[in-house]
């Protein structure tokens, strides 16, 4: 149970001093795709190591090799100085490699303790030892300072952040030597992220080595000791976090400067084209007023659960609106449904790309044109040829990397999928675009492209609402930023009057900020 027992004489060595994990010259190909081309990774004992790279850079493949999900074609892996060939996930787990995936893998209908000890249930002659299980689960949670999570609660009833703690507790049961975390904060709020960081630092004290994968570079900077950057399956750079800065890392991973990421087009706000008056959902939001001008990008910040997504969904007619009215170009949208909104020229990109945003099993062309077959159909009959031509032209405009319009969308990378989801609105010629977390979980290159598309849309006189949990992006892209808190819109100000700290203060609902109310 004591992970540091084999490192007794290394206690005084600083993090990164004694190697826990060494991967060298790792090659891996899938068919003709060379995913890894001689990658190196060195992680010290009790070190938090950021593994950084765009989607498709090879991070996931490297971690799959480490966790035994696939075999390397070439290269060596050493764990505590001994050669280690992870042959299966089970084998890697037994050797102390634990992995926490981006998508949570808890069984929602089982209790917390059942989840924590899933596959490692304490038993005697096949009979479950319930008391012992409770003890072990509780001890694991206690170690993470989360005794507040009840062992009997059903996993599905916990918040995402709590579920993540349970997931980490599960990893701790196997007393891991290396813990891999893949985008653990992508669905967490700032506060939950802070809590998670405390938990991770706790692991560091236990001399567990953590490989931390995240698109949020600021997080890596705050949390990690060292970093490695991958690009196109090759090791680009690595070093101590303290000796580098953000712009260098971004340059390494994207091959471009940070100033190119938030391009701003010259634009002027026109007339009010889109309004919410007293918009209220079944539970959230509770009466939101908002108005948006043509050629304007409005950001909406807030904690998860503040009612941002709920507002968009109620306005778009995906969820029932309890009260309020929506006006598009001055015309009221009666009892909004997605169809009526689309007919009025309002489009929405869902925050949940895989489950709602796209039909993963269908091809690119259909995903792109689903709301508007008009340009290439007559009497309800579609000309597939013209549909493909149209899809090609959008693929070129947004530089979507895909084999062609007939490729299944699920085979594309997250960034390219998101570009298609956005292209659907462009093809629909939406004049009001509601974008819910448009850059979640996608690589920096695609992010930059989506920002520039938003910018161009505004310059062309479209009105855009961006809901995001990533404050630098709101500050970089938007003309005005609104902050929501507990279902109400607290404040809207021009972007120049905000900074990350003041937005955060407003988000958590601190006193003395909500002076002006939400009306603009």
């Amino acid at each position: 149970m004591d992970p540091s027992s084999h490192e007794v004489n290394s206690v005084s060595v600083p993090a990164g001093g004694v190697l826990r994990l060494r991967m060298a010259g790792v090659h891996k190909s899938f068919g003709a795709t060379r995913a890894l081309r001689g990658v190196h990774l060195e992680v010290g004992t009790g070190e938090i190591h950021a593994l950084i790279g765009e989607n498709g850079a090879g991070k996931s493949t490297l971690m799959k090799i480490l966790s035994g999900a696939c075999l390397a074609d070439e290269g060596i892996v050493e764990l505590d100085g001994k050669p280690f060939v992870p042959s299966s996930p089970l084998h890697a787990r037994a050797e102390g490699i634990a992995m926490i995936y981006q998508e949570l893998t808890l069984a929602p209908h089982l209790s917390v303790e059942e989840n924590i000890l899933l596959g490692a249930e304490p038993s005697r002659w096949g009979w479950l030892r319930q008391g012992r299980r409770r003890e072990m689960a509780h001890a694991a949670l206690q170690e993470l300072h989360h005794e507040n999570i009840s062992c009997e609660a059903l996993a599905g009833e916990l918040t995402i952040a709590e579920q993540q703690v349970v997931e980490i507790a599960r990893a701790l049961i196997g007393s891991p030597r290396v813990l891999i975390m893949d985008e653990p904060t992508s669905s967490l709020t700032q506060v939950d992220t802070e809590n998670l960081f405390r938990v991770i630092r706790k692991l560091k004290q236990r001399r567990v080595s953590v490989v931390y994968i995240s698109h949020f570079l600021e997080e890596c900077l705050a949390l990690c000791d060292r970093f490695s950057v991958l690009r196109d399956g090759e090791s680009i750079s690595s070093g101590a976090m303290g000796e580098t800065d953000l712009s260098r890392i971004i340059r390494d991973m994207a091959g471009r400067e940070i100033s190119e990421i938030y391009p701003r087009t010259p634009r002027t706000a026109g007339d009010v084209v889109y309004e919410w008056r007293g918009l209220a959902g079944v539970r959230k939001p509770s009466g939101v007023d908002l108005s948006l001008r043509a050629g304007e990008v409005l950001g909406v910040a807030g904690l998860v659960g503040a009612g941002r997504t709920e507002s968009l969904r109620a306005a778009f007619g995906l969820d029932r609106a309890r009260a309020g009215e929506i006006r598009v170009f001055g015309t009221r949208v009666e009892s909004p449904t997605p169809k009526r909104n689309l007919d009025a020229g309002v489009g929405l990109v869902s925050e949940n790309r895989k489950e709602e945003g796209l039909m993963l099993a269908r091809d690119l062309a259909d995903n792109l044109a689903m709301t508007r077959f008009g340009p290439f159909s007559k009497w309800g009959f579609i000309s597939r040829r013209r549909q493909r031509e149209c899809a090609w032209s959008w693929m070129e405009k947004l530089s979507v990397k895909a084999a062609g319009p007939d490729q299944t969308i699920g085979e594309l990378s997250g960034g390219n999928q998101q570009k298609v989801a956005l292209a659907r609105l462009l093809h629909h010629e939406a004049r009001v675009l509601l974008l819910d977390e448009p850059t979640r979980g996608i690589d920096v290159g695609s992010k930059a492209q989506i920002y520039s598309v938003i910018s161009e849309l505004a310059a062309a006189g479209k009105a855009v609402i961006v809901v995001s949990s990533y404050l630098p992006e709101l500050l970089g892209v938007c003309d005005r930023v609104a902050v929501m808190c507990r279902g109400a819109l607290k404040e809207i100000r021009p972007v120049e009057e905000w900074d990350e700290h003041s937005i955060m203060t407003a988000m958590v609902g601190a006193e003395g900020v909500a002076g002006e109310g939400g009306r603009v």
Binding site: S60, T337, P338, G357, A361, M370, L412
Partner: protein
């Protein structure tokens, strides 16, 4: 495709059986004997199976399941299922026979039968879309309701009608010695298949059907009126089941309220063998037609071989698993991008 492999395997099996029979007849043994039997065998069984007459017979026997599979394809591609088809076929065949017995004209009988099927489908679809009920449960209930109605309408007996009724020409197997004409039912099934294929692949409605089956949440997001579309899908499916009922009726010149039990399972099997996924979003008319044909070919081949009924059942069961298993395996072999 899985079904093509299965079809070939079956032809090989029949040929092999011919050779083995020949070996028994000539009392031959071993590899040499097998080779001599291969030479001297006339492949009578295989020839009978592949003869024009037999293929025409198989085609006409397939018509009922084939037409039903069309409706089932539409429903399964949209992510649904319909378990009431067997009962609906019985009900519509009884209705048609009753009307024909009352000397309604052909057109009237056809229209009434098909409309009745469509109406039951519309009720299914209305409940599924309006109350957001599971298709499995709604159609399971409708399976009982329609069966009961059929028996009630027929007063628990088969309903006979005069052979001379005009509709009766739909399934007559005449002129079997010529390649053409095929029975009109086969033409009807082919025509309906072409229409449905065009509807599903070339129209906006077809895109919507695939979209709903692939991801209903996305369909809603894209402004597709999911409830209406679903209701229409089941109603249209019902129209096909009405046609299947009509075929069932004209084949035997009667409406049998206790017939066609479990017919929906044949149709589901045909659709699935044809490459559709029960979770929706994939499937094709051509595939389903091949699936229906394969099932009937196996039945027919087995009875030509004079294999007992239980052998047929085992073979068809294995084939469903084999055909779908092959498709799965093939998909898992495709390289995935990561």
């Amino acid at each position: 495709m899985g079904f093509a492999v299965v079809g070939l395997l079956f032809v090989v099996l029949l040929g092999w059986k011919d050779v083995v029979d020949q070996m028994e007849k000539e009392d031959l043994k071993g590899w040499d004997g097998w080779r001599r039997a291969w030479g001297s065998s006339g492949f009578e069984g295989l020839k009978a199976f592949l003869s024009v007459t037999n293929i025409k017979t198989v085609l006409s026997q397939t018509v009922i399941v084939a037409i039903g599979s069309l409706g089932m394809t539409l429903i399964i591609v949209s992510g649904g299922i319909d378990l009431s088809v067997g009962s609906v076929v019985a009900l519509t065949s009884v209705l048609g026979a009753t009307l024909a017995a009352q000397e309604w004209g052909s057109f009237g009988v056809i229209a009434a039968t098909v409309l009745a099927g469509g109406m039951i489908g519309a009720i299914n679809g209305g409940l599924i879309a309006g109350l957001r009920m599971m298709p499995f449960i709604v159609t399971l209930g409708m399976m009982g309701v329609a069966r009961g109605l059929a028996k009630w309408l027929a007063k628990n007996q088969t309903v006979n009608y005069p052979e001379s009724a005009g509709v009766n020409h739909l399934m007559k197997l005449e002129d079997l010695d010529h390649f053409l004409p095929l029975p009109s039912g086969v033409w009807l099934a082919g025509g309906l298949a072409v229409l449905l294929a065009i509807l599903m692949n070339r129209t906006v409605f077809g895109r919507h059907v695939f979209a709903i089956g692939s991801n209903e949440a996305t369909a809603r997001l894209c402004g597709i009126r999911v409830p209406w579309t679903k209701a229409f899908i089941y109603a249209l499916g019902g129209v096909f089941f009405g046609f299947a009922g009509l075929m069932q009726m004209t084949r035997l010149t009667q409406g049998d309220p206790s017939g066609a039990v479990g017919l929906e399972l044949d149709m589901i099997a045909a659709v699935v063998i044809g490459g559709a996924s029960l979770s929706g979003g994939t499937g094709s008319v051509a595939g389903s037609m091949m699936g229906a044909l394969i099932i009937q070919l196996l039945r027919n081949g087995s009875s030509l071989m004079a294999w007992p009924n239980y052998t047929q059942e085992i073979i068809i069961g294995v084939v469903i698993i084999l055909a779908v298993g092959l498709d799965r395996w093939r998909q898992s072999q495709e390289p995935r991008s990561g």
